[in-house]
Symmetry: C2
Subunit: 143 residues, 2 copies
Amino acid sequence: MPFHLDTFLPYLLSVAAHRTSARFSALYAAEAGLTIPEWRVLAHLDHSGAASVRDIHNLVHLDKSVVSRAASRLELAGLVQKEGDPHDRRLIVLQLTEDGRALMQRLSRVAGSFQAQILSELGADGPALARALRQLGPGQPGD
Amino acid sequence: MPFHLDTFLPYLLSVAAHRTSARFSALYAAEAGLTIPEWRVLAHLDHSGAASVRDIHNLVHLDKSVVSRAASRLELAGLVQKEGDPHDRRLIVLQLTEDGRALMQRLSRVAGSFQAQILSELGADGPALARALRQLGPGQPGD
DNA sequence: TTGACATCGTTGCGCCAGCAACGATACGGT
DNA sequence: ACCGTATCGTTGCTGGCGCAACGATGTCAA
């Protein structure tokens, strides 16, 4: 019996993830020309307050180097402030600037309405999708 | 109200997709050192029979160039046969070789048991996840 | 038939993710 | 205090994706 790719979960996940990210990117491209890593760093800082590169690396599942470069670009753009931690001088404390907070305030509205849009498209399957994705995502055994 | 990244669907999708692909890759890495595009091309050829680069590009959501290069690598590995279409000499007909079919026979068993494993982890949410992913994937409005 | 336009596969190029190596700093045992 | 080890952030490098351009072939209308 041949194998059907279009019922295979890793494939479906990959396609759905790409397409959904692309849809969302198109939305916030109007507000700001952010890459996905940059968006994640901003979003994380927005709800966690100050955080080190390593914190973000662990919690947002981005490689250290990706976080580092995203943070540098965001600093250049004036959205993020980088300063050394006085207690541990290896650490870099990242924090949103005033501009960064203002941007995230607008973007979180965009994100919220996008999320609502997606959920309305999914109907009753929405909650199950979220549960399943959290189950498949890291933080689970072997991570 | 700050924004919570860990309930945001594009983020959850991306993380779940990466992790699930990585888990599956680790499984078939033992059988064959395939990249994800190579795996998709093989899988599609296995259940569609002969197909052109363009067919795969459309149906498997890989860029033309990615399909082209994957096919070249697979031809070098002796898993796929490339020949010109006699009716339309622009087209390249891709087909599994004997070795390719044999490999896919083994890999489809691996894939099947992996799928079963995932579904058992998801429990009752499995079917809803599949439905939701198909809904979010392309082939929907605006694609 | 000819010529304008469309389609197919390949190739070149820019870009970013992922990995490893590095310098700098912190920690722990002796 | 000192030395070996661990951790943090940055940077160089390789490889692959995505886009655009190209040559080759096909199609259709005049």
